[in-house]
Amino acid sequence: MIKVNGINKRYLKKDGRGNRVEINALKDVDYDLSAEGIYAIVGESGSGKSTLAKVLTGVEVCDSGDLFWNDTRMVSASFFNDKEIRRNVHLVLQNSKDALNPKMSIYDCIAEPIRNLCKLDKSTEYQRVESLIKMVELDEKVLIKRAHELSGGELKRVNIARAIATNPQLIVFDEATSGLDVIVKKKILDLLKRIQEKNACRMLFITHDIEVALYMSKDIAVMQKGKIVERVQNVSCLSDFRVAYSKLLIDAMPVFGMSVTQVESATYKSVG
């Protein structure tokens, strides 16, 4: 369904001394997903995973490389503005509070993609928003509130409701559970699993926590410093991951950790 080949993306950033430094966020990256299901890309901050998510959804334009949508080659720059694409591809941002207009009611926030991309009359629109709110397990009373009145978990649910509003075929989540408590985190992840099953869509989880990836998906790609170092498409057990870096990420999971002394002897490069 969506495929990228040889993607390169560079950013200019200011380094410690105020000099402009070029950062290679993505180096020759290939990624694709087609069948329905849940996918995951894992990596630390700075690995380029968020950039890849933005390129896949058209939010960022890559410097070089090809992008294919349903086997048709797309021009990266106009990919984003295509209404068909916008209806079918959504990106849920990390900060769920900031992703909502502080002056808009929750109803209007959720209805926005519907109004832009579908032609529904007022009452159908209302029914749709109502059903979306129910699907994310929130009370209707939340519709007249504003973003600052909701808790972290509720904000996440509103963002999810907005994401599924036009019933997109692909939803990319950038750190879906950041800032959430453990109990709410599990609830949100379980909710997303249910939604994916019900809507039969594709979900791609971008995360720094391999535990979340393992919980949600059987197709996990590991990124390090702008490259995909490994991708296991049918994870059955942890030893499916062979690359040293992947193993390092797995070891960092508390329950499965090696003993303290074993970890201490592994050298850890500074990301800097």
Binding site: N101, P102, K103, M104, E112, N116, L117
Partner: protein
């Protein structure tokens, strides 16, 4: 936003500003005398029943002049400010939202416009067009718009970079809708604050020009003009200076206080 105003200064400012606006609207209706009428015999008299604040150097009723003058001072300030802010909003939005070369060009123009001191502008325009209301309005607007435009532009830039704008783009919202439905409501607070503090500055600018004799015509009962005329009588009739001076001062401060507490309340 209104609910958060709790400070004493805000209430004081509010009361005075309301009084000033009432005077502006209804002053002439309640003034005891014609502000332009000269009463020869009562030149030397202080406050009396017929002339509650006495008469000025030409024998005109001081109170009536104050009451009529509010319209000129405050009214013109508000009109000038409205035009200024309208231009500033258009300019700031286009410049801030579209960025790039357009922004560079527009900001450059702003900087050039800011380089001219208001006095220079008004003197040059008077040279061409003479002292009149039009010249005054024009100069005041030209002198003020760049500052406001830059403030609006920076607010637009702040909002433009926030996540909810990107989320709106992801939802397929067009640029026009983003400007009107997303950015504008979030910049409105700044615009409102700008209005109130702007009125304050405008009043001072306009009456300042009038004091110098380059604003309103000499006969008009505008407060700055009254100050100008009272200059010569500073030792003999100091109240002629103090009364209009106090009016200008209080009104200006009142609006400024409201503006500042709105700004603090919206934080």
């Amino acid at each position: 936003m209104i609910g958060k105003i709790k400070s004493f200064e805000a209430y004081m400012g509010g009361i005075i500003a309301v009084m000033a606006v009432l005077v502006m609207l209804f002053g002439p209706a309640v003034s005891p005398n014609d502000p332009m009428e000269i009463h020869f015999a009562s030149e030397a008299l202080g406050p009396s029943h017929e002339f509650p604040l006495g008469v000025d150097n030409l024998g005109r009723c001081e109170l009536s002049r104050i009451l009529h003058g509010a319209r000129y001072t405050i009214g013109v300030a508000v009109i000038a400010l409205t035009i200024t802010i309208f231009i500033a909003v258009l300019y700031g939005f286009v410049s801030g939202y579209f960025g790039g070369g357009v922004d560079l060009l527009m900001t450059g123009l702003c900087d050039i416009a800011m380089a001219f001191p208001p006095l220079v502008i008004i003197f040059s325009l008077i040279g061409i067009f003479d002292v009149c209301l039009g010249t005054l309005l024009f100069s005041v607007v030209i002198a003020s718009w760049p500052w406001n435009a830059k403030i609006i532009r920076s607010q637009v830039l702040i909002q433009k970079n926030r996540d909810y704008i990107m989320a709106a783009r992801i939802c397929g919202t067009s640029h026009l809708k983003i400007i009107t439905k997303h950015i504008f409501p979030n910049v409105l607070n700044t615009i409102i604050v700008m209005y109130f503090t702007g009125v304050s500055g405008m009043i001072l600018m306009i009456s300042g020009f009038s004091y110098l004799g380059i604003g309103f015509d000499h006969d008009l009962p505008e407060w700055g003009v009254m100050l100008c005329e009272a200059k010569a009588y500073i030792y003999t009739r100091p109240e002629l200076l103090l009364i209009p001076g106090a009016c200008i001062f209080l009104t200006s401060i009142a609006f400024n206080l409201i503006g500042e507490s709105l700004r603090d309340g919206s934080k």
